[in-house]
């Protein structure tokens, strides 16, 4: 399209500024809350990753003379029952908590998308798969998580596996609903008419259109998994206590909550901050990608 002569000359923009990705991101971050949560998440992730470069204090360094010391300038978040620096452990623990959240979200999304696409696209598979999803969702999340971890055995990877199984049905439901709509659209009919084979239709025509609902699910499940891991650790059926996740930190310091409240307060704040940022970001993505869905849960 040519610009009309009366229009003001547009400032020359770099190629990337014209890309749809950039425009989408700019619209996403136009909302201050969404931008803020993205910044918070980046900060948390960066601190967790760059931790060894930032400080030389070892999160597992025990210092009995500092046992249950209240927060001070040297130790912002105080010290725990073994005299370990709580802040150092929160930053170090972020690696594990974020890892559990991320891997669970990715696992659930991959499995759930596969199941949801199969159920949504093939009418014969719909009823059996969805009844299975219904059956799995009849168990409260945390209860299914406990049962699965107790069967698999408590380890970092088994917690991730258990939570993946817990959250897969959610994704499957969302993806199935979207696939049902997509299946009836004209471009799918056109592809079929052109003789495109079914696997390729699913891969090239259905899957890319599922990106937005799936992306929203990633952020939400990421948050839920961090919360669930903390809950499982608290109940004593989560990650082994020697791995410092935010959940095991709280669980480990429980007995000292009366005397040294900071040992459970700060890891909890880290969880809330991360989960809240993730959900706000997910909410922003949802609003952006589907204005009609705006305001719906």
């Amino acid at each position: 399209m040519n610009a009309s002569p009366t229009a003001l000359p547009l400032p020359a923009r770099a190629g990337w500024a014209q890309s749809p990705w950039f425009k989408t991101l700019r619209r996403l971050f136009a909302r201050k809350v969404v931008l803020l949560s993205a910044v918070v998440l980046l900060l948390i992730a960066a601190t967790a990753l760059l931790y060894p470069l930032l400080t030389d204090s070892d999160p597992n360094d025990m210092n009995i003379s500092m046992r249950l010391h209240a927060p001070s300038w040297a130790h912002w978040a105080g010290n725990d029952e073994l005299g370990r620096d709580v802040m150092a452990r929160i930053i170090y623990g972020a690696r594990y908590s974020l890892m559990i959240g991320l891997f669970t979200a990715l696992g659930a999304v991959v499995l759930g998308t596969l199941l949801g696409m199969l159920a949504g696209y093939f009418r014969r598979l719909d009823a059996p798969l969805m009844r299975l999803v219904d059956a799995m969702m009849a168990f409260p999340d945390i209860l299914l998580g406990i049962a699965l971890v107790s069967i698999l055995g408590a380890s970092l990877w088994n917690v991730i596996l258990a939570l993946t199984i817990v959250y897969t049905p959610r994704v499957a439901r969302v993806v199935r609903a979207s696939t049902l709509v997509l299946r009836e659209l004209l471009f799918v009919d056109a592809a079929k008419a052109l003789g495109v084979r079914t696997p390729l239709i699913l891969w090239r025509h259905i899957l890319p259109n599922l990106l937005s609902p799936v992306l929203v699910q990633v952020t939400f499940i990421f948050a839920y998994a961090i919360l669930a891991e903390a809950g499982l650790s608290f109940l004593g059926v989560g990650v082994p206590p020697d791995i410092p996740t935010w959940g095991t930190m709280i669980a480990g310091s429980l007995e000292y909550a009366d005397k040294a409240f900071w040992t459970i307060l700060t890891p909890g704040v880290a969880i809330v901050l991360t989960a809240l940022s993730l959900q706000l970001l997910g909410d922003g993505v949802r609003d952006l990608l589907d204005p009609k869905l705006k305001n719906k849960s």
């Binding site: 809350v33 009844r131 299975l132 219904d134 059956a135 799995m136 009849a138 168990f139 409260p140 999340d141 945390i142 209860l143 406990i146 049962a147 699965l148 107790s150 069967i151 055995g153 948050a223 919360l227 903390a230 809950g231 608290f234 109940l235 004593g236 059926v237 959940g247 709280i250 429980l254 909550a257 009366d258 409240f261 459970i264 307060l265 909890g268 969880i271 809330v272 989960a275 809240l276 959900q279 706000l280 909410d283 305001n295 719906k296 849960s297």
Partner: protein, 316 residues
């Protein structure tokens, strides 16, 4: 209508059957021989083999499942390995605190969630909406046990207003029970109100766009009458559904909160059973909790069609 009823009931039966299969498989896949666990260290290999025959564990998996399901349908969930009582009895003994806690918590969630959600929708886009919606998001980001620990520290340890844990003496009065339940109910109620706020807001926004709301305003009704009589009454139908589902999920989802406050409820029973590998209890409780969820879900669906005939017509 009959067609809808049969279809819906059939679906629920299938889901229940799958739930039973899942529960059965979950406990059978578990590592560790439950018989060896039951008999203890003293048992010889011959003892274990004999016990396996006695419990029918030597039969094929499908036969075991059929035998188990037969017992379950007769109301027999088996014998706890540790509690010296049938699983059904253990469940019944623990049902009361959980039921009261769930009801109390859902009431709190509704009392907070419905007015807040309504306000957020009516003043949508304003600072009220933003604050309320952010609070709702915050509620969904707080680990329940951590929130419980904080409430215990503040209201039980420092202020001493409420007991920190337990359910009171066996013969405690109703008021005393309420005092024990208030903090845990507050934890579950406040955290679950997040969902209710979001849902009420969405539902009210939907109704606000309806023609009959415009008609009501056009004929000169006051805004408060329109909001209460025309909007709220219609918007509440889906909200009540979510409240029902929240109640259903809470019956099993109180696990963590019950542990924090040391309430002798169903959740506490499960956690102990898991820690002790008491498989009959795990199996029985999971089955009952999931079945309650399926039934409440079904009841809500059927109620829905009574309230709103459009739904059953759509399905045809």
């Amino acid at each position: 209508m009959l067609h809808f009823l049969v279809k819906r009931l059939g679906g629920a039966v299938v889901v229940l059957a799958l739930v039973a299969v899942l529960v059965f498989l979950l406990t059978r896949l578990a590592s560790g021989d439950p018989v060896a666990l039951l008999l203890g260290d003293q048992a010889t290999a011959a003892d274990i083999a004999a016990a396996r025959v006695q419990y029918g564990l030597d039969k094929p998996l499908t036969t075991q499942f059929v035998l188990w399901i037969g017992q379950v349908l007769q109301g027999n969930l088996g014998q706890s390995l540790f509690l010296q009582m049938p699983v059904t009895q253990a469940l019944l003994e623990r049902a009361e605190p959980t039921m009261f806690l769930a009801l109390f918590a859902v009431s709190i969630a509704a009392l907070i969630g419905v007015p807040c959600g309504m306000a957020a929708a009516v003043w949508r886009g304003s600072w009220i909406d933003q604050v309320l919606s952010s609070i709702a998001m915050l509620g969904a980001s707080i680990p329940s046990f951590w929130f419980g620990l904080i409430l215990i520290q503040v209201f039980a340890v420092h202020l001493g207003w409420f007991p920190a844990s337990g359910y009171g003496d066996p013969d405690a009065s109703f008021g005393d029970r309420l005092q024990h339940l208030l903090l845990p109910a507050l934890v579950l109620g406040v955290l679950n109100s997040a969902l209710i706020i979001r849902f009420t807001r969405a539902s009210v926004l939907d109704i606000l766009g309806e023609d009959y709301v415009r008609t009501a305003r056009a004929k000169g009704l006051g805004e408060s009458v329109v909001l209460v009589k025309h909007v709220l009454r219609n918007a509440l139908v889906p909200v009540v559904t979510v409240l029902g589902l929240t109640l259903a999920l809470m019956i099993g989802g109180t696990v963590v909160t019950e542990t924090v406050f040391n309430l002798p409820g169903v959740g506490n029973l499960v956690v102990r059973a898991v820690l002790r590998r008491d498989y009959p209890v795990i199996q029985g409780t999971l089955l009952v909790i999931a079945a309650i969820y399926v039934f409440i879900n079904l009841a809500i669906d059927l109620l829905y069609t009574v309230v709103d005939p459009r739904i059953r017509l759509e399905g045809q």
